[in-house]
Amino acid sequence: MRLILEIWRQDRPGADGRYETHEVVDATPEMSLLELLDRLNHQLVENNTDPVAFESDCREGICGTCGVDVNGVPHGPRDNVPACGQHVRDFKDGQTVRFEPFRSKAFPVLRDLIVDRTGLDRIIQAGGTIAVDAGTAPDAETVQVTHDDAERALDFAACIGCGACVSACPNGAAYLFTGSKLAHLALIPHGKQERAKRARAMVDQMEHEFGPCSQIGECALACPAEIPLSAIAVVNRERIRAGFKKGKAN
C-alpha cells in the first residue's frame, strides 16, 4: 500500500511548525499507525534526514503514552481505540493521512508529534490521590465494597490518561479525564474520606489550565478506555456536592 503522510514538524516549543509531506510505498494493511510512523522514520534515517518525534510505549493500548491526531481525530479513525491499535487497513491505497500533535492550549508541542501532557499530572497532583493512613494490609473483607461499586470504580479507573479527550474537545476541556478520576475515587471507601476536598482541588486545577465543557460528546468517542460520557457530569456533581461541605474534607 502507498500512503502519503502529511506530518506536523516543529523543532521546539513555541517555534513555528509546518507540514511535511512524505510517501510510504511499502505500507501493509496490518501495520498499526505507530508502525507506519516507524516505517517512515526508518526511511528518513536511511536518507540521512531527521526522523519524526512521536511517543509510544506498550503498543497494546494499556499505557496511554501514544497519542497523535490522525486526520483531525485523536488516535485515528476508529472510535475508542488508541493509536497503537489503529491500523493502516482503515485507509485507502494512495490516501493522504495527516498526523498532528494533540491539540490543546494546555498541551504545548515539545517537538513534532510530542506534546507536554503534564497538565493532566497537575490535576492528579492537586487531589487525585488518597492521603489517608491505611495502616498495614487489613484482613480480607474488613473494608467491604459491593460488587457493583467495585465494578463501577474500575470502569472509571480504566482511564489511561492519554489526553485524547482534551484533544477531541472543541473547547479543550479535561472533563472526561477529571470526571473519571473523581468518580473512581468517590466510589471506594478510602477515597470517600477526602471526597469534597479532592473535588475542590481537582476542579480548581482543571479550570486553571483546561477549557470548559459544553456537553458536545467528542471526548467519549475518542477515549480509548471507553470512559462513559457520564464522567463529565461527575465533575459538576462532585463540585456542587463539595460546595455544600464548606471546609470539610469529605
Binding site: G17, G72, E100, E207, S214, V234
Partner: protein, 262 residues
Amino acid sequence: MSSQFEERSGIDQIPVAKRPATTPPPRPQTWLLKLIMALTGSVLVAFLLFHLAGNLKVYLPDDPRLHFNEYAHWLRGLLNPLVPGETFLWVFRGTLVLCLVLHLYSGLTIKIRAWRARGGRGRAVNVTKHHLVGRTMIWSGGIILAFIIFHLLDLTLGRGVASSKFSSAASYDLPDGTAVTDAYSNLVHSFERPSVAAFYVLVMMVVAFHINHGIWSIINDFGGTAKRTRNVFLFLAAVAALIIVIGNASIPLAVQLGVITL
C-alpha cells in the same frame, strides 16, 4: 541522535512545570457558570412551554379570537387581586430578563474560555464526528436573542418591524363588556406577511436545536450520572424541542395557509 541534528534543541532541555499548580482558577468558576446556565435555561424553557400553551389558543374551534384575547388580558392581571394591577406581570418580566442576562453572561464567558483553551494555532481544524449543535450554541443563542427583540417589537410594543395594522388600543370587547387589546388581530396581521412568517418558522427550528442541546446539558450540569435519568433527559430534550417547533412554527404557517383568519 547524532550530532548532525544539533540545531534542534533536545526535549530534555524543556522546562516542564511552567505553570505552578497553586494559581487560582478563573473567576467566576466554570462549574458555577454552568450551574447558572442550567438553572436560568430551565426557567426559560419552562417559560417557552407556558408561552406555547397560550399560543395554541388560536386553534380553539369556537371563536379563537375571543379565547386568545381573553387569555392575553388575563395574563396582564395575573395574581389579581392578591397583588394589584400589573405587579406580577412586571415581576415575571423582570425574572425572565434576569435569567436571560445571566444565561448570556455565563454562555459568553464559557465560550470565550473555550476559544482560549483550544490551541493548535497554524494547524488544520479538527474534525468533529457529531454534535454540531453543541458547538454552535453561541450562534443559535445569538439568533434567538435577535428574535426576542424582533418579537417584542413586532407583537408587544408594535414598533419598527410590526405590521402597519398593529394596534395596542383596547378595541376588542369581551363578553362582560371589558375592552381589551386585540392581540389576536395583531398576530394575524403580523403573520400575514410571508417574510415574517418564514422568519418565525426558521427561528423556531433554531430554538428547537438550542433547547434540545440545552435540556441535555441540564442533566450534566446538575451532575446527574444515573443512566436512566440521563436517558430520560435525552428523551425530554427531543420531545420538548419537537413540541416547541411543531406548536409554534405551525401558527405562522396556518395564517399563511388561511387556516387562521380574523
